[in-house]
Subunit: 597 residues, 2 copies
């Protein structure tokens, strides 16, 4: 046994993706990568610090246990953890029954029988919801007499369980093994999301759950649910049931009932995933108009209404009455602290055609600038949503149009061209931001486009020095002492909770860049729905989104594309083995191919 | 009932893809097509002649029957037909049990209770295999007292059953209905194929069968099984079992046993589909070398073997002994009259490095022209295969290199650039050809690429007049009588069965173009395996390949892209309803979405 340690340590890394008795010949084009063993095994995304030794332990399904450590703040009563133990046990050992006999068997010396899980914070957050400030860190030690997983909260513990399961491999005799390992891990970015669009095609709940499951395998923590849009309104609102009755593709078979939504949220919570719903207005609302009279702007053809409708009608009080009630419901249905309010791609042509809008523009002194009308609407909407105690995310146009935003607003950068400049602008204005521009996964192309997503870097923009910061840098570099007041001229007031801007200013931060980069809280891979539905969504998303997962979780210098290819090849086979039809990276095979069609 | 006929006739066409009680709003981009009713309903591919009236009949699962006509040459003993009845009954009515009570119910006046199926040729071909010369035509009349399907052979009957099932719709009350209809149909091209590649990724038999099933729904009739290639050799040969033992990704889980191959062939036969296996040599053979010593050329690095191997070694007698035995097996395992012998993309660098090859080149007087060595090999291989009484297909390079081909050879045109010129060259040399160049479905791109495949036209090349044909045209256009001898100078001999060339020459055919275009016998959609396996193959293939299906079956002037969009949208929902994860064309929905993930 001891003599074959080295071999075992290496063999295991190959074994997920290689077969028996023969070498791999995977490429038929010379410039293509070859699957090889990575020193980090099949870990994905790569932990911040990881040390895998060459000492293997055996794991046997009949005797292995997850155990709540005695001093853990979450124990048997924490159903989130108990549920996770069951899930990972099944991933690791399959769903085969424990053999009763084996329970009295004395474990062998090189056997690992226990993973102790210790939640270290007084509040484990077991019954809470994950949030943007949740601590997701964990430490994992695999050693004798037992492995230990320590995490301040259950959210870190979930990630640690995933990592633990990824350390498992089969040795050359098919025995489940794990090497002595030390890992210390935390995410680089707090917001790591996937956008799915259930309007252009309805996504059965089963499909959403399968993808939440897969998100957890990739340490994603935000499901951005672009739930309604022009083509259909599948959200069944208790307050306005006619929205889906009239606006869904079908009022029964193509809607999300309150029970469905609840199930999605709880399923996500159990996996450490936030559900941020998007109700995009004033554009992208054609489907809203079917069930809510007067909500949309009637378009005119000459002096007569054409019968078509444009964006939400921003000049009627009824619009805001509706939004108040609607978002009151949304804020109570969705527990997350954020709602995504959209605000992208507003087409002004219908507004321009409508004589009542024209009159209103004149009254307000907007001139011909319809972005002012858009801002007028959004401003009122933001106030409504703020009154529900929710924060909001918005697409970048809202920021670009100069709408006054609350200081905790998250600006979502999506436009491909100039996204670096946009990131720079948004953060120099002091707003938090998330990046999606390089990660529009609905756009497909031949071959290994995951590499393109992998190489995108959210912090590759130039920061903007504030003038006073440059001055501070000059003064101190000349050796003088200095005192700062610029960010604290409290006679200057601005909209919203400006105390936070004052609070965040750091007299020692002379480099705008660094301060700005702290405002980049993450990113999202977006899979818009024009060309995907239940038939093809899952293989189109995975493992392409996995590339984004590692970019957002792992350290900035984790950029070795060959090592990534090797680990990701094995990670995708693991997803397949867990029942997820994740598509192949290139010619090769998985020991257990996907069973389905 | 009568009053609502028109509505019913229209409603039905919408119903496959639309829901209840609301209009369709499918597009959010103005230049995108909208799903509308086509006057041809959901028929795909469009039959040659079709007349759908507005007179509907009801179909009731409990009383509807497929009946063999009394004067049919295939009756209850034809299990191919009986199997097809069962299959189409299930497609049409689901697998719900017949209700015993209903059997004694007297059918209503507007009810259609029977489709009579009459095979008109003395030989129905029920127990045969479909072939390139099979008659696939059929005539379908849907009327009272029963519908009639007439076809010379079972192959036409299968297509007719598919068409019949496509005429079914649900009226506004959900009742299954069919309109009085007259159809006369036959394929434009005899060879309508799909290439699947089971070497770059192993495709479980289940996946292959599901795609054969879907091919039948699209009237494809050739499964081109690119079964082995560089990465793996999953074909389990009885004669040389070591080929898959050593060359497959895994010797047990990633091979096709003789029983698997038999099952695939029979499953295909029952659906009117030929199975043409490809054993590509001398290149693309890395996996062959693992189980067959000395088959591949040892590459040299300087004066020493490098350990790597190149194409099949063409200078050893053992190579040809092997090929003789191997193709003897292949010719008995695969019943089709054709074998695809590959012959594409031979890399000369390894041959160039090998001193024995260099010596052989000199002995043969090949100079530095390695394509002569390639032809030397292929020529011998063709002789071997011809001796097994099989015809062969080859990739275009074999023709380009000037190899002498038997007159019944099918040249497979695949290289994208210059494919029109290639079609012209191949056919002016008198060879049959099939086209794949515009239909490499492994190449993907954003949005509706099916339109690109749909617009490709196999006969869009310029013909080459033979000199004597120009002369004939000149003479006759001047009003003189003439007599032809040029193609029949029998003192001029050439390799192979040149009597066929003589036989085919038509003294009345002055237009090289027309004669050439008759030599285009069809095309194939190719889904190479680098980036597809069981996880994503089916939705990637369908409905994109359906575009090719209509191009190869329907009349040349069926080119209305909007009508195609409408019919194809409904056809794809029908595939989904039959359990096939065919991906969406654009934002929209199916009444019954795919159930799976």
């Amino acid at each position: 046994m001891i003599a074959s340690l080295k071999l075992a340590a290496l063999g295991l890394l190959l074994c997920v993706c290689s077969g028996l008795q023969h070498n791999l010949v995977l490429e038929d084009e010379e410039d293509q990568p070859v699957v090889q063993a990575s020193k980090s095994g099949s870990l994905w995304p790569l932990p911040q610090k990881v040390l895998i030794s060459q000492v293997p332990f055996k794991l046997i399904g009949s005797s292995f246990r997850f155990v709540d450590a005695k001093d853990s703040s979450a124990g048997a009563s924490c159903s989130l953890l108990q549920d996770a133990y069951r899930r990972y046990y099944e991933y690791m050992f399959g769903s085969s029954k424990r053999q009763g006999q084996a329970r009295s068997r004395k474990p062998g010396r090189s056997e690992l029988t226990e993973l102790q899980v210790r939640i270290t914070s007084p509040d484990s957050d077991c019954d809470g919801y994950p949030g943007i400030t949740s601590d997701e860190s964990y430490e994992l030690s695999v050693d004798q007499p037992f492995a230990i997983l320590k995490a301040p909260t259950v959210w870190g513990a979930l990630h640690g369980l995933e990592t633990f399961s990824q350390l498992l491999y089969e040795d050359e005799y098919g025995a489940k093994s794990i090497n002595s390992t030390a890992i210390s891990d935390f995410p680089r970015f707090a917001h790591r999301g996937i956008l799915l669009d259930s309007s252009r095609h309805f996504l059965p709940v089963k499909v959403i759950l399968a993808n939440l499951e897969t998100m957890a395998m990739n340490k994603f923590n935000v499901f951005h649910w672009h739930i309604v849009d022009d083509p259909s309104f599948p959200y069944l609102s208790r307050t306005f049931p006619q929205l889906s009755q009239k606006g869904a593709y079908h009022p029964y078979t193509h809607v999300y009932t309150p029970a469905d939504v609840k199930m999605v949220i709880e399923f996500a919570r159990l996996r450490g995933i936030r559900v941020v719903p998007e109700f995009d207005t004033p554009g992208h609302t054609q489907s809203w108009g079917k069930g809510q009279a007067d909500l949309l702007t009637p378009c005119y053809s000459g002096s007569e209404p054409s019968g078509a409708f444009g964006p939400v009608n921003p000049i009627l009080n009824t619009t805001y009455d509706f939004m108040k009630q609607f978002f009151a419901e949304i804020s109570s249905v969705f527990p997350d602290a954020y709602v995504h309010l959209g605000g992208d791609e507003v087409d002004f042509s219908c507004w321009k055609s409508n004589p009542d809008i024209t009159k209103f523009m004149a009254q307000q002194g907007f001139g011909q600038d319809y972005s002012k009308l858009e801002s007028f609407y959004i401003q009122k909407l933001l106030d409504i949503v703020a009154s529900t105690k929710k924060g909001y995310m918005i697409w970048q146009e809202v920021f670009d149009n100069g709408v006054k935003l609350g200081p905790d607003t998250v600006v979502h950068v999506w436009i491909g061209s100039g996204s670096n400049e946009e990131m720079s602008k948004v953060t120099s204005a002091g707003y938090q931001t998330i990046l999606s521009a390089p990660w529009y996964l609905d756009y497909i192309s031949y071959a290994q486009d995951w590499q393109k997503y992998y190489k995108a870097e959210p912090l590759n923009f130039n920061g903007t020095q504030k003038q006073y910061q440059e001055e501070m840098a000059n003064i101190t570099s000349s050796g003088y002492q200095t005192l700062l007041s610029t960010p604290w001229y409290l006679n200057r007031i601005s909209y919203g909770q400006d105390w936070m801007v004052a609070y965040k200013a750091d007299p020692q931060d002379f480099k705008g860049t660094e301060a700005q980069k702290k405002l980049v809280i993450g990113g999202e891979a977006c899979l818009w729905g024009e060309y995907v539905d239940a038939t093809n969504l899952t293989p189109r998303l995975w493992p392409r989104a996995s590339a984004v997962a590692e970019r957002l979780w792992s350290a900035k210098n984790v950029t070795d594309i060959n090592d990534a290819f090797n680990r990701l090849s094995m990670h995708r086979c693991r997803m397949v083995e867990r029942g997820i039809p994740a598509e192949p990276l290139f010619s090769s095979y998985c020991r257990h191919e996907y069973r389905g069609i």
